[in-house]
């Protein structure tokens, strides 16, 4: 008897793709519902009345919102392929870097696409990436030998999102010269057997970014 797992997401969102990656790594089957953010479904508004955002995971009829919270729920519910380590200190470290990616890296990277002082914005973004590069050190993934919690939360950086945006907007953010380890990690990330099946179709993503940001002259 299957357990009812449903996911409300948006095809291009790194936030909802994170949840898909976690479910895929653990071999959990789910039903996917694509949301139109300009016209949110009644179900989405019912299941996430507080933030009205995707992703929302529904398990046995009960909704969970906020991708990092969803990931921890998935990790606690389906034991195969653990995303977080067992040791409390290592768990705290993973949660710290996941939070760092969400609260520092991603806003700094987005800011580069809108800031008036682009040079300053890029410098600030580089500072956050440098800290991430130092944390990765010589590990294949942030999770060690295989994908873990931090890798998934950093999908925007590891996946095609960042590299395509920077190309289209004309930014030098994640470069091999400055961040050789992160670049190597992102190649491992997009080539990982489970992850590659969860990334959005690249041509569709590029077309979306071209419209959103305007093509580089």
């Amino acid at each position: 008897m299957g357990e009812e797992v449903k996911l409300f997401g948006v095809w291009g969102s790194p936030f909802s793709r994170r949840v898909e990656m976690a479910l895929k790594l653990k071999g959990v089957e789910y039903e996917y519902f694509e949301e139109d953010l300009q016209n949110k479904s009644d179900l989405l508004l019912k299941y996430n009345p507080v933030h009205k955002k995707i992703p929302v995971l529904l398990h046995k009829g009960k909704p969970i919102a906020e991708s990092a919270v969803i990931l921890e729920y998935i990790d606690e519910t389906w034991k195969g392929f653990p995303l977080l380590p067992k040791d409390p200190y290592q768990r705290a470290t993973a949660r710290f870097w996941a939070r760092f990616v969400e609260e520092k890296c991603m806003p700094a990277l987005f800011n580069c696409t809108v800031a008036e002082d682009r040079k300053k914005a890029v410098e600030e973004a580089h500072e956050t990436l440098k800290l991430l590069e130092n944390e990765l050190k010589d590990k294949k993934f942030f999770g060690g030998e295989d994908i873990g919690f931090v890798d998934i939360i950093a999908d925007f950086i590891g996946g095609y999102w960042l590299r395509d945006i920077q190309e289209i907007v004309g930014l030098e953010l994640l470069t091999k010269e400055k961040f050789p380890k992160l670049c190597e990690w992102s190649d491992e990330f997009v080539n990982h057997a489970a992850i590659k099946e969860c990334l959005p179709p690249r041509d569709k993503l590029i077309a979306f970014f071209r419209t959103r940001f305007g093509a580089k002259p």
């Binding site: 507080v50 969970i64 919270v69 606690e76 409390p88 200190y89 949660r95």
Partner: protein, 218 residues
């Protein structure tokens, strides 16, 4: 071997208060170190090189930063008086609401007394709306954790010590709009772990008045 626990903190910080409450609830002995945020100690800078912020929990020499992360760490290491429930779904709801407190209550609370004009009015309204949402989530339970203090209670109650700051400089009153919330606060304050960890509103207010004078505001 005895556990060595050190807390780097700053007495008016609601984030620091969270950890004080959790450690007290679990009866963990620790050394409290007050930081001067204008002159941060080498220990703080070394323990939290990324953010250079308090609170930092140092357990047997290893530093845990970010208060919600440290709360989970405390709960996982000292398993008596659990703050999070054992059921994964209920745990996810507790984490969701703690995240809500971090994203909304802190920022909006701050805006109620640091912003001006329309921004301030909007912040005050949104702040009250968020507190009301929390009242709905609390429902008829004595605490967010049910019969006893839980994760959300510990994450949220420290902000009460700043309410008189919000009310004084924001020029509004919270209790008439959110009586259930205040009733919940009073229940929390009956617990020694909370009353000993959360300073008096007047003390926090005096601190802010002093700080504003020093910064030359008004």
């Amino acid at each position: 071997m005895a556990d060595e626990v050190v807390l780097l903190d700053f007495w008016p910080s609601p984030f620091g208060m969270r950890l004080r409450i959790a450690l007290a609830e679990k009866g963990v002995k620790y050394e409290y170190k007050e930081e001067d945020l204008r002159n941060k100690s080498p220990l703080l800078l070394q323990s939290n090189p990324v953010h250079k912020k308090i609170p930092v929990l140092i357990h047997n020499g290893k530093a845990v930063c970010e208060s919600v992360i440290a709360l989970q760490y405390i709960d996982e290491v000292w398993t008596n008086k659990p703050l999070l429930p054992s059921d994964p779904y209920l745990r996810s709801q507790a984490k969701f609401w703690a995240d809500f407190v971090d994203k909304k209550i802190y920022d909006l609370g701050r805006k109620t007394w640091t912003s001006k004009g329309d921004d301030q009015e909007a912040a005050k309204k949104e702040f009250i709306d968020c507190v009301k949402l929390l009242e709905v989530e609390l429902g008829d339970k004595p605490f967010f954790g049910g019969e006893t203090l839980g994760f959300v209670d510990v994450a949220l109650v420290p902000f009460y010590s700043w309410f008189s700051v919000y009310e004084k400089f924001g020029n509004f009153s919270i209790e008439p709009e959110c009586p259930k919330f205040i009733a919940w606060v009073k229940r929390c304050l009956e617990k020694e772990s909370v009353s000993k960890s959360v300073p008096d509103q007047d003390k926090v207010c005096d601190f802010v008045v002093e700080m504003r004078k020093k910064l030359g505001i008004e």
